[in-house]
């Protein structure tokens, strides 16, 4: 019984953990401008993140080495340090976006300025990392993120023309008002928001935090393979809501208020409240993970003692890094920059930097000196190579597309 319960819990966690501020912003934006014609990117990103995340978890569980230790070992200090710098900066951007997302979601529920919520949210994140058990942190917060199912409910309540929606998915077409390069820019954005690199760092470090055994890898693989697709469906339903309610009126989504507009339209106060809870939880969970990820990357690169399974004073530099990162995140947001724009930039740069973490993990997953007889199988490698190409193309195309389209303006 407890085993079934544990499985269910893991599953629900994976569902809730899939969505973060990137999906809330970019999906609504894409839905309002392109309908569901970019839904295929979510599917591509979903398969990619499943392959990638479970591969990094397996590498860590088998070799007992975390991602960034391996990156430094394989790439040497020079390229390793460049990789660390890029990854850390993007992580910082993502973290700022997530904290901003918490503040904006709380603003929707309270109409209190986000500038008051930002320091409070950051303090709450620190407190949870400082005091709360890893398993609680990893399981309970994303569980509340499950409330985002409200977006799916809203789609049904809107009783849309399903045939038309499916046609948008099956036969992607760029509307005449939009430029083709804008379409591809948002494709890269969505890809980056589905395959956020912090998830990989977090997941592989979690394997160390929770001392995963071979059996637990199988279980976690099951969770990811079953939970993430449901998360992706929720993510697509955010786009569907915007496509049904906002697209016919040519609304350009620029804030979270427009993301929840369709939900209130059909679901009223109750569904709106549920979705707001989900938004706060999802962004808070993602903020926790990306904050920890920034500590993990730095500590692993320099070989410091790290992890929440140690007491804070036994991983002093790790905890100090986390505090400093959070302070920088607050600083970024307090300049008055729009968190929605930070999010848009963060997801694109996530896509651009993907090869930095993807490639070393793929190499090590095939290296018997780390993995013994548990190296990648042939089928997995086949998929992994296809994704290597996709990841590289998205990475190379990211910056030019951003410049050409004026960041999707």
């Amino acid at each position: 019984m407890t085993k079934v319960l544990g499985l269910l819990l893991g599953l629900l966690t994976a569902i809730g953990g899939f969505i973060d501020i990137g999906d809330l912003v970019v999906e609504a934006e894409v839905g309002s401008r392109f309908g569901l014609s970019l839904a295929w990117v979510v599917i591509v990103g979903l398969i990619g993140v499943c392959i990638f995340v479970q591969m990094s978890g397996r590498v860590t569980a088998v070799s007992k080495r975390a991602t960034f230790e391996i990156i430094r070992e394989r790439l040497g200090p020079r390229i390793g340090a460049a990789n660390l710098g890029a990854s850390f900066l993007i992580n910082l951007l993502t973290l700022s976006a997530e904290i901003g997302g918490i503040a904006l979601s709380l603003q929707l529920a309270s109409s209190v300025s986000p500038f008051l919520w930002i320091p409070l949210a950051a303090f709450a994140i620190w407190l949870v990392i400082w005091r709360v058990k890893f398993s609680v942190l990893q399981n309970v917060v994303p569980l509340f993120g499950l409330a985002l199912v409200g977006f799916g409910v809203a789609v049904f309540l809107l009783s849309p023309d399903w045939g038309a929606l499916l046609r948008q998915v099956a036969q992607p077409r760029v509307s005449p008002d939009e430029h083709v390069s804008t379409y591809w820019y948002f494709a890269v954005s969505l890809f980056g928001s589905a395959m956020t690199p912090y998830q990989v760092t977090f997941y592989s470090s979690a394997a160390v935090e929770e001392k995963w055994s071979a059996e637990q890898i199988t279980r976690s693989r099951l969770n990811v393979l079953m939970g993430y697709p449901v998360g992706a469906l929720i993510s697509i339903s955010i786009a569907a809501c915007a496509a049904i309610v906002l697209m016919p009126h040519h609304v350009n989504v620029s804030s979270l208020t427009q993301t929840v507009l369709p939900v209130a339209q059909v679901g009223g106060v109750l569904l709106l409240a549920v979705v707001l809870v989900g938004m706060v939880a999802a962004t808070f969970g993602a903020a926790l993970e990306s904050t920890l990820a920034s500590g993990y990357t730095i500590a692993q690169f320099f070989g410091w003692s790290w992890g929440k399974f140690r007491k804070p004073r036994e991983a002093a530099r790790f905890h100090l890094t986390i505090i400093i990162t959070l302070l920088i995140g607050i600083g970024v947001l307090m300049t008055g920059v729009d968190p929605v724009q930070v999010t848009e930039i963060a997801v694109v740069f996530s896509a651009i930097a993907l090869p930095l973490t993807y490639l070393p993990i793929l190499v090590v997953a095939n290296d018997p000196s780390y993995m013994g007889d548990r190296v990648n199988g042939r089928v997995l490698n086949g998929f992994a190579m296809v994704y290597l190409v996709i990841v590289l193309v998205a990475s190379v195309a990211g910056v030019p597309l951003m410049i050409i389209t004026g960041a999707g303006a």
């Binding site: 400082w130 005091r131 500590a299 070989g303 410091w304 399974f309 007491k311 804070p312 002093a316 530099r317």
Partner: protein
Amino acid sequence: MIKRVIDARLHLLDRQVLDRNGIPISTVADLELTDVPFEQELTGSEPAPVIVNLLSGPVLATRVFGGRPPSSRWYRIPWNAITEIGVAVDLAVEGDTLDVTWVERWIRDRVIGRIPGGSGKRSASDRPDVRAERTEGGDT
């Protein structure tokens, strides 16, 4: 003792160093070798250079940017403290006794240990199964 060929670049450099309790100390940033005669013809009879210390600390920056720090700034981990070289380098000594951990100790005692809950006496994040309560590390 089983003899094994170790490639310094492949098996030593940038490897994680763990102390006797399995706590990460540092990574191997560089190696210190015994001197070979400098600026003179080698006759072939000189003893081969031997690794005396693993180096860590600011040495890393010079491997990234080039140059060479003064040897007074090297943090050394003596070669004979190593018990095993596998996916990590294991040591026979406590990390707290090594110079290389002074930053960690300083931050622990001056910053993290002073934040309420930092010493972890009642910490909820404590997992007793990981390892037994360690005695308080001495100030330096």
